[in-house]
């Protein structure tokens, strides 16, 4: 349990003189009110995208992967790029709720719920790709999981980074969902107790597990939350490490590098935070949460973007330098080829978006300007997608020159990439309507008034 020192605040986390009761009112409002026009506009757009997405997959899976740009020189393409991209996005949430919790960053309270939701949805988007990029998904589902079977039994290859992925991603998804859900139990109870309609009452009751806010429960709850944070912290670092093994464990020049794990993790946090900003800036407007997700929150996140962005940029330069300096001819060629080869354009998009963009956040004005941070965060997202693109297209020029090839994304590649955003946004907007967008119990716990009272209760004797 937290000690009084940690309860001191630099700036109030809740502005606009909102009382603890107002917190319940405002946060529950989206779930209790009918959606605004803006909401329905966004929701229908995302659903259309989702529908197109599903159709595209159906087609690609019936006719075959020949519809997309990959070929025998370049066996992985946009699907893997999207996979890594989405998994990366899925890092911010758990990071915010776990690591920042351990570091006693109380400002996390008002954003962690949304961020965790985003994590879960991003991972669900990511999960689609490795499964459906295979030649025979219907068998992939059967074969990648080790379970007793009638083939001998024949198990799976636990030495394969892809098998590691199966465990890493599924574990990460599970733990994120559990963490997210546990954090929501008290708030679901709040919704249940506020609910008028019997069905709403029943459903919220079902998921709030009969939470009553008893102090004896709070004790266990807080412990569990702490443990979850402790578990999720190494996990969140491990996931992208293991994803990066898909590349780092291979023997290809440009992939086989030990710098990948840290650099992937940094990149993941980077892109994750960018995505949080991209989502929360409109969301707080849409659901009138400006007093809970304040400009201060956003500024702190921009600071983190600046930090991680610089980390990523630094590792770009490092790996390039090492490759060229090491004197390993294939490695050297691979990297020079990245920068100046046929896919140089992608490399420079990546460099400018990921290395230069965040540097603007050195300026407080930009850090605190809503439109600018929104724009920049989008640039970061683009840049991070291209980072993975650049890494994957290294395949086109591997060891044996006569097998050098090229890679052109087809129409279907593009449709599926955009469609996955449809899936993501649909889920997120649904979440905003049915579940508490902010972690009420924690906001209340770190409400300026609460903190004052608790401090006084200590100073009393």
């Amino acid at each position: 349990m937290s000690t009084p020192e940690t309860l001191r605040q630099r700036r109030p986390l809740v502005t606009g003189g909102k009382t603890v009761h107002d917190v319940s009112l405002d946060v529950c409002a989206p779930a209790e009110r009918w959606g605004s026009r803006g909401y329905w506009l966004g929701f229908s757009t995302s659903q259309t995208a989702l529908f197109i997405y599903l159709c595209a997959w159906l087609l690609v899976q019936t006719i075959g992967l020949k519809l997309v740009g990959i070929n025998n020189r370049m066996d992985w393409g946009s699907f893997i790029v999207n996979f890594v991209f989405w998994v990366g996005i899925g890092h911010a949430g758990t990071l915010i709720s776990a690591i920042l919790f351990l570091f006693r960053q109380n400002w996390r309270t008002s954003i962690n719920r949304a961020a965790e939701a985003m994590t879960v949805f991003a991972v669900s988007c990511a999960g689609v790709f490795p499964m459906l990029h295979t030649g025979r998904p219907w068998l992939a589902i059967l074969f990648v999981f080790p379970y007793p079977n009638f083939r001998g039994p024949l198990w799976t290859n636990f030495r394969s980074p892809l098998e590691w992925d199966v465990f890493a991603v599924s574990t990460y998804a599970t733990v994120s969902v559990l963490f997210w859900y546990m954090g929501m139990i008290p708030d679901l109870a709040t919704l249940r107790d506020r609910a008028k309609h019997p069905i709403r009452k029943y459903l919220y009751g079902l998921f709030s597990m009969g939470w009553r806010g008893s102090m004896r429960h709070w004790v266990h709850y807080e412990t569990a939350y702490m443990i979850f944070a402790a578990l999720a912290t190494p996990l969140v670092l491990s996931v992208h490490t293991i994803v990066s093994f898909d590349f780092a464990v291979s023997i290809l020049p440009g992939w086989h590098t030990t710098i990948f794990p840290p650099y992937f993790v940094a990149g993941a946090i980077f892109s994750g935070f960018a995505m949080v900003v991209t989502l929360l800036v409109p969301a707080r407007k849409l659901f009138h949460l400006e007093d809970y997700i304040t400009i201060d929150h956003l500024e702190v996140m921009n600071k983190i973007i600046l930090l991680t962005g610089s980390l990523v940029g630094f590792s770009y330069i490092t790996e390039f330098f090492i490759a060229v300096y090491s004197g390993a001819p294939f490695e050297k060629f691979a990297f020079l080829n990245r920068a100046f080869g046929p896919f140089g354009w992608a490399y420079w998009i990546m460099m400018s978006c990921n290395l230069i963009t965040p540097q603007f956040f050195w300026f407080k004005k930009i850090r605190r300007s809503i439109p600018l941070m929104f724009l920049l965060s989008i640039f970061v997202n683009i840049g991070m997608w291209f980072e993975r693109y650049v890494i994957v297209v290294t395949l086109t020029r591997a060891f044996v020159m006569p097998q050098w090839g090229t890679y052109v994304m087809t129409f279907w590649d593009a449709v599926i990439l955009l469609g996955s955003f449809g899936q993501f946004m649909t889920l997120f907007l649904l979440f905003c309507r049915v579940l508490p967008v902010c972690n009420m119990s924690e906001i209340k716990a770190f409400h300026p008034d609460t903190l004052r009272q608790i401090r006084e209760s200590h100073d009393h004797e």
Binding site: M1, H21, T171, T174, M209, V219, T450, Q453
Partner: protein, 175 residues
């Protein structure tokens, strides 16, 4: 109309913490409880509610997960169906570390959530709500009738003395 217990409302964390401390000074409570919309830090200390045993459950589960992972991978790859892969020995454990880790975490995570619910007796031993605003902004101390030496009159006085803004004796049947 048997009494279920007595409920003392306090307005705000400060009041309830101080109230709990005061009451605690007067006498010892075994089964009392508090209802708060959020985890009021240091209230548990004030009420001397024991710490949770959850960590041990999680640790045990995590270790069993690790053990299972080690046994399972070794058995499947080396004993049950040994197959040459990439010239590596059957027991190529360094390649298995990621899976060891993941399974450990997975087991711990489940144990954590289920353990927490179990220790709270949720959902199966969930109690009937005493006041719907406990999950909103109301704070109250609760002394059940099976508390040794329970006596509604004295306790009401004590609670009021401890700064309760309102005291209510709960009887069977009223919400």
């Amino acid at each position: 109309m048997s009494e279920q217990g007595i409920l003392g409302y306090f307005d705000g964390p400060k009041a309830i913490i101080l109230g709990a401390k005061r009451l605690r000074k007067t006498r010892e409570f075994k089964k009392w409880d508090a209802f708060t919309p959020f985890a009021v830090h240091t209230l548990d200390e004030a009420m001397e509610i024991p710490k949770s045993h959850l960590p041990w459950i999680v640790l045990a589960s995590g270790l069993s997960g690790l053990a299972f992972a080690i046994w399972f991978l070794a058995w499947t790859s080396a004993v049950n169906f040994p197959i040459w892969v990439g010239g590596k020995p059957m027991l190529s454990w360094p390649a298995w570390v990621p899976i060891f880790f993941e399974l450990t975490v997975l087991f711990s995570a489940w144990a954590n959530l289920l353990g927490m619910l179990g220790l709270c007796g949720l959902p199966f031993r969930a109690k009937k709500p005493l006041d719907l605003r406990f999950t909103d902004d109301k704070f109250a101390l609760w002394i059940p009738s099976d508390e040794p030496g329970y006596d509604a009159a004295t306790l009401e006085a004590a609670l009021r003395g401890a700064g309760a803004s309102d005291v209510r004796v709960v009887r069977e049947g009223d919400a």
